[in-house]
Symmetry: C2
Subunit: 305 residues, 2 copies
């Protein structure tokens, strides 16, 4: 194969009680990533979008991810990467993760699927390291393998695909900027053991709820008293938006990634649309521009177009 | 019904990464609890064992649990409780929980199963409050409903029965005393957020491992860097015993409850017996008296004899 195009989905990470270990893939928006084999070693990047992302491969998340892959593959050729970016950078729905995941999955196709998913996650995390200063897999793992993914460990990579019932995500992206450093600085370094116990009890119950298809349990366990209270102040109108989503019948939700996007879960697409309307009504009068998406949580991750 | 006898199983709580929220019932030892309806209101207690437990109902875990039940049931009769105790108090395998659970389940039979399991758990927790100074359900919930139980919340009671593959527990009870106050005092009040994230990632993976019947995942996720490091020093030879169990092929284990018992999990009864031998060889030369049990983790909780 000389050229491959893949679609890499947006992802929601953290997922309330699953801070730093849970994420899921949604059925759009997608980044499209095309990779072409070329004789000259190394990586070049072209962006087909309006986001002014760096094209220097060493400064680009897809570039560093693919460089890590090529270094391990020990091939003598290079690749051109063309990224058609639909997931807005800084939105909190895995934009950097989609670029790096899409690129490594595509290059892996050029190499006849030489590497297993765990290795691809490892390479894609190099992009996350560049984007946020730390390796984390809760976006790239669901982006690459799809579905609802628990990241048990990143070193070594150990991820688990969870079973889950039909679920639809409403994502609202108020277009404000949250700097990664700020989102991190508000997190406590130490947490009371009692609060940690409460969180892991909720995470355990949430996972059992997903596995059993128990929507009520999912609803009851989507609680976060550690990270959400620290970060919600960074997202204007977060609490009203969440309350409006719940009042409209969502079964829970919270901050997507480190924000500013907010996600709410619903049992049906119809309900997720009602939730979209309800949350939009919070943001419309504020003058803050915002995007919304309604997407099913899907088993498919990054796939050939 | 005038008289009922039930068998209430021993339970293992905490379960490494499931501190304060996970527990499972084993297939023995059991306490046998007989309750008899009598005309005079109130509760009387008889113990048929050698443990010198209090028979004053206000000082007895079964007594306070049944008193809470009778108060809510608003009945005009009383009950005599006879407890044939096989689970040694202070062993760390749910001895107090078995007495109080057995008593409330038995009295509930006298009342034609008036109360649902969540209420019985609530009443039985009054016994735990008396025994340890705090209400907790990670022994009484599996003791009452059986199986592997996640306690999402105790207020209100919200417990989840997990699916699990065949699992056998080897329990070793080195007969030393650990005072509850001491086991509590060694716990940190604050934990690093990073350590908490690691723990909830492991707990999530452990639950997924149980639900999927994935023994390797169960093995990898039975890790606890918060409570075990704080408490293991209270149990002489804990680390050698655990290492011996793992070397003998156990798929993980740790402190049962707040100790001093240690549990190890195995895929088969044969393996659990080999683990028993291996761990016994650690304690035999020490002069510390110890009991061992090999039991399947069973779906049945407290049941009619």
């Amino acid at each position: 194969m000389k050229e491959v195009t893949v679609r890499a989905p947006a992802t929601v990470s953290n997922v309330v009680c699953g801070f730093d270990c849970l994420g899921f893939a949604i059925d759009g928006p997608f980044d499209e990533v095309t990779v072409r084999r070329r004789d000259r070693p190394g990586v070049s990047i072209t962006h087909e979008d309006a986001f002014s992302l760096p094209t220097d491969p060493e400064q680009n998340v897809a570039g560093v991810a693919v460089a890590a892959l090529l270094a391990e593959a020990q091939v003598d050729f290079g690749v051109e990467i063309v990224i058609e970016k639909a997931i807005k950078p800084g939105s909190g729905i895995g934009s950097s993760g989609a670029s790096s995941s899409g690129a490594v999955v595509a290059v892996n196709w050029l190499l006849d699927e030489k590497f297993p998913p765990a290795k691809l996650i490892e390479f894609a995390m190099e992009g996350e390291r560049l984007a946020s200063g730390s390796r984390h897999a809760d976006n790239v793992a669901p982006c690459i393998i799809g579905g609802f993914v628990l990241v048990r460990s990143i070193d070594p990579v150990d991820v688990v695909r969870l079973d889950f019932p039909p679920l639809f995500a409403t994502v609202i992206h108020p277009q404000i900027e949250i700097r990664t450093a700020e989102a991190r600085a508000v997190l406590p370094e130490l947490v009371p053991l009692a609060a940690a116990v409460k969180n892991w009890s909720n995470l355990g119950a949430f996972i059992a709820g997903l596995e059993h298809g128990d929507y009520d349990l999912i609803d009851r366990s989507l609680v976060d008293e550690i990270v959400e209270p620290a970060r919600r102040g960074l997202i204007p109108h977060f609490e009203e938006a969440k309350a409006a989503g719940l009042a409209a019948g969502a079964i829970g939700g919270g901050i997507s990634g480190s924000g500013p996007s907010i996600f709410m879960l619903s049992k049906t697409r119809e309900r997720a649309e009602i939730v979209r309307t309800a949350v939009s009504e919070i943001y419309e009068p504020t003058g803050i521009p915002f995007n919304t998406y309604v997407s099913e949580i899907v088993s498919q991750g990054t796939s050939l177009r």
